[in-house]
Structures are given as C-alpha cells and as structure tokens.
Symmetry: C2
Subunit: 307 residues, 2 copies
C-alpha cells in the first residue's frame, strides 16, 4: 500500500457522504476573546456513533467491501472505533465482531450492541486483545479493520478537516487531538494541500507523540493514566510516518487544563464532549492565536454525571 | 398597541439579524426511532446569552431604541431574560439594570454582570421584585422591557420558528415549552401563516397554561416547584390572548419525564440544555408523531455537575 494523499481524502469524502453527517461548525465570542482570535469548532461529537471515527470506519469498509461482505470484519477497541465500526458495518450490510476488554464500560458495550455487532470479551491488556483478535481471525477468517493505522481509515478521518475548510476557508491553523494519529494524519493531508498549519494537543500523561516526533522514533504506548481515554494509544506506523514527514508540532497539556477546557466547552459552547475532545482547546488556550483557528471536537461519548 | 402578527415576526427577523446567531438544527436517528418520525431540534441553547430570549430582548430594544437610549432600560428576572437583556443592551449601546432576587444563583448574577448590566438585589417574591421595579422606575425613569408580555418581544421570539421552517420546510408540527408564553405565542404567529401546527409541553407542577387555556381564563403563577426553572411563571396577558385564540394544545409532563428527556438530549444529541428545554421532547415522546416534527430547544443555561 502507498501512503494516502489529499486525493484519497477527496475520494473518501465522496464515498462516505451517504453514510456520515456533515457536522456543524460552532463559535463562541467568549472563547474567541480568551484565545485572542476567532475559533471555529467542527462538532464531530455530533457525528453518527458519537465521534469522527465513523468516517474512517465507513471508508475502511468501502475500500474492501467485497472482502468485508464475504468474510465479515473484526476489530478490538474499548472505545469509539468499536461503536463506529459496528454502525458502519450495519450501514453497509457487513457482519461485525468487536473484541472488547471486560473492563470496558457498560455504556460502550451497549453502543456496539445497539448497532448490531457481536461482542467478544477479552482480558484488559493490549496483549490480551491482540491474542483474542488473532484467534478470532484464524477461526473465522474475518477482515481486521484497524482503528487508525490504515490508509483508508486515515483518508476517511481527513474528511472532517475538508468540510471545516469548505465552511471556513480563511483558517490559519487546525487543532486536533493526537492519540493513534488517525485524525491528525488525515488532517495533515488536507491542510498541507490547502496551505493551512496543523497543530496537535496531547496529554502530558500520554505524550508518546510529542517524544517520538522529537527524537524521530515511535514510542511505546503510555500507561493509561490520562482522563482523555481516547488518547491513551501510541501513534500507528503509517500515522507516525505522515506526522514525522510533516513535522507536526505537539503541545502537551496537564490534566487540570483538559478538565477545565472540557467544562468551558460544556458551559460556553453548550455541547457535550468527551475529555479527549478538550485537549486541542486546552493547548490552544495555552498557546493563543492571532489568526482564525479551527478545532476539531473529536467526540461526545462520555458517561454523564447525574444532574 | 395592537397584537403582533407574522409580518411583525418577519420585520423582527430582519432587524435582529446583525445581533443574533442563526442557530443550527440537529437530528438524531435514535430519537427519530423513539418518536416514530423525524425530529428536528432548533438549538437555541447555542443562541447568544444561552437562550432564545436574546431574540425578544433585541427586538424589544430596537422597537423603542431612542427612548431606551435616553432613559436606559430595566427588567426583573432571575433567569435567561436578565442575561439576554443585559447582552442586548450592550450590543445596542443602552444602559441596563436588572433587578434580581438575592436567591438567584451566582452563575446567573455573573452572566448579567459579564454583559455589563447594573444589578440590584431584591427579596425573593414576585411582589418584592415588582416593588423594586416600580421604585427604580420612579427614581430613574428607565424603560421596562418585560420578559414575554410585549408585542415586540413576542415577535422577536417568533424568529426562531421562522428560521427552523426555512431550514426544514416540511414540518407538520413545532413543539415548544410554555411558561410566560413568549416563545409559544411567537411560534404560533409563524406556524399559523405557514400552515403548521404548534404543540406545547408544560410541567405538571406548573400547568397554569394547560388549566387556563382549558377554562378560558388566565391562571395565577404556580408555586415554583418544577425542575424546569424557566417555566415557573404564569402566561402573560398578550400571550394568553394569542394562545387562546389559536387553541393551543398543551401536554403536561411529569418531573421524571423532564429529567429523562434532558438526559436523552445530553447523551444522544450531545448538546447541553437546561431542564425547561427538555419539556417539549418529554411531551413529544409521550404523544409520538407520524410526520416530521420540530422542537425548539430553548436554552442551555444550567449549572453543570462536576465531571
């Protein structure tokens, strides 16, 4: 496979259009005042399945549809990719199996089940998941759709930035969170072609992208300590290659800054986001801006406290 | 003054456009499935000041701008109208004073202060507020901008339904919450002209509109028991007249249904709404629908629990 480029993103936009929401862009004058420039929030928390992950999952399935229909698909995930793949599979008439650690929240199990996926429980570690995945694939021959380390998935995730730039063409910068790097690499493909700068926010407690891009070598997954549960993974191989070639600047943020940014989004923007989605705004608030900035709010799958 | 009609709403839409957000309309397939028909949510929780009230406040000020600039304006409110009038006054270069019960939450006091209004504390009862208002007006000659019982305010609130129908022309019904009746009457003016039915949700614990419209006589304000704090007031005189002439059907909902609908909106639609905003969806879930329905989400000013 060759690395995807912006034309892969344009093709993805065309083919996922019947299945994905075109999400709205929101603004808040009081956030603009705090940042120092207009900020445009691309609300992927409103995306179907509750996060941008649906874009990559649908594009991943469409890229191998005959095979996927023949063999069924499988993935391992305790988070948004599980729900996204389950929904994408239902929309495209594909059988899906999701391997989830038994420690995954009931809410996340329910989401995958609601979309009709088969659930298989496994142990809590990455090794447990990979072993369960291997054994499922040997037994059933299903096609593995990875959460970020795949050209079709990366191209699908890039469509969020494409829509954002179509709606707000004068952005100087687009801020994204970085975990596995699917959203960040897809955004880079679009932004490079458009002459816009991509910046990333990453939790201090899960700063493998920051450290790896600085020393030129992929780092292992950090211990799962940060509140931003979507960003606890390490960069994928393809994702690292794209982001390193691009020279992505990563800003690290403290846990308190993430929680504060999340509350700001809830209180001022009035949208429900999960902690991972607040990481780029936390970074942007620290760095400031003097020209219009975009922020991709990655998802809204969070268990709400009782009111 | 004569009662406003749809052309007053069209004029209001034109004149408030530079000051109000054109708010997005959101949908959710899982809510559609529960209701039985497509539901389109007009997100006034994203409106400036955090609720639809800005529309009426701006239109109220623009209707008497010379007088308002000369004398300043005043209102009494512990809720969204206070913040809306404060912001409208700042946008239009008018001095504003808000009389707030000393029991109002610090969050609401801060909102009014942030927009530059002068705050005057008063006792907790309606009589206390009205006495403080009278004495302020005698002393300073300020112009009173009421929260709902005024033709310009009603016309301003109707602009939300106008935008909703412009975006989703095939609605059969528009659901609104009913408290003082500003939003409900403005929506009626638009919906009548467009051939759409208006339906209202009201808390069982504050059902003065339901009882008053049934017997043909305005009822006194209910005791402030419902969690839907924006709907604790009685219908205004003008509002009662418009809604009674129209023959509005009001569906009453229990407190538990309001809280459940609020959580559904948070969890599935991923937007932050205050309890009053969940009342029409609670009613719609009870009644069901067999044709596309609109729901106006009135506001998002709620103190969030700690995450």
């Amino acid at each position: 496979m060759i690395d995807p480029d912006v034309s892969a993103v344009l093709r993805a936009a065309h083919r996922i259009a019947p299945y994905a929401h075109r999400t709205p862009v929101l603004t808040s004058r009081s956030i603009d005042a705090r940042v120092g420039a207009p900020v445009h929030f691309k609300c992927e928390n409103f995306q179907r399945s509750g996060s941008f992950k649906l874009r990559g999952a649908v594009n991943g399935l469409l890229g191998s549809l005959t095979e996927a229909r023949g063999r069924g698909v499988v993935t391992h995930s305790s988070g948004n990719h599980a729900a996204a793949l389950a929904l994408a599979a239902r929309l495209l008439d594909v059988e899906a199996t999701v391997i989830m650690p038994e420690t995954a929240s009931e809410a996340k199990r329910q989401a995958a089940r609601r979309y009709g996926a088969r659930l298989i429980a496994c142990g809590p570690t990455l090794a447990d998941r990979e072993a369960a995945l291997e054994s499922f694939i040997s037994a059933h021959g299903a096609l593995f759709v990875p959460p970020y380390d795949h050209p079709d998935v990366v191209a699908g995730q890039g469509t969020a930035a494409l829509e954002l730039l179509a709606e707000v063409p004068d952005l100087a910068t687009i801020w994204v969170p970085v975990g596995g790097g699917g959203l960040a690499s897809g955004t880079v493909l679009v932004a490079e072609a458009a002459g816009v700068t991509v910046r990333a926010g990453e939790p201090e407690l899960a700063d493998d992208a920051y450290r790896g891009l600085a020393c030129g070598e992929r780092q292992p997954a950090p211990p799962p300590l940060t509140v931003a549960d979507g960003l606890r993974t390490a960069l994928g191989v393809l994702n690292f290659r794209i982001l390193h070639r691009y020279g992505l600047t990563v800003t690290r943020v403290a846990e308190e800054a993430i929680v504060e940014a999340q509350r700001l989004i809830w209180n001022v923007l009035k949208v429900v986001v999960e902690p991972s989605s607040a990481v780029p705004l936390a970074a942007l608030l620290e760095v400031g801006a003097d020209a219009p900035a975009g922020v991709i709010l990655s998802g809204g799958n969070v268990t709400l406290p009782e009111v």
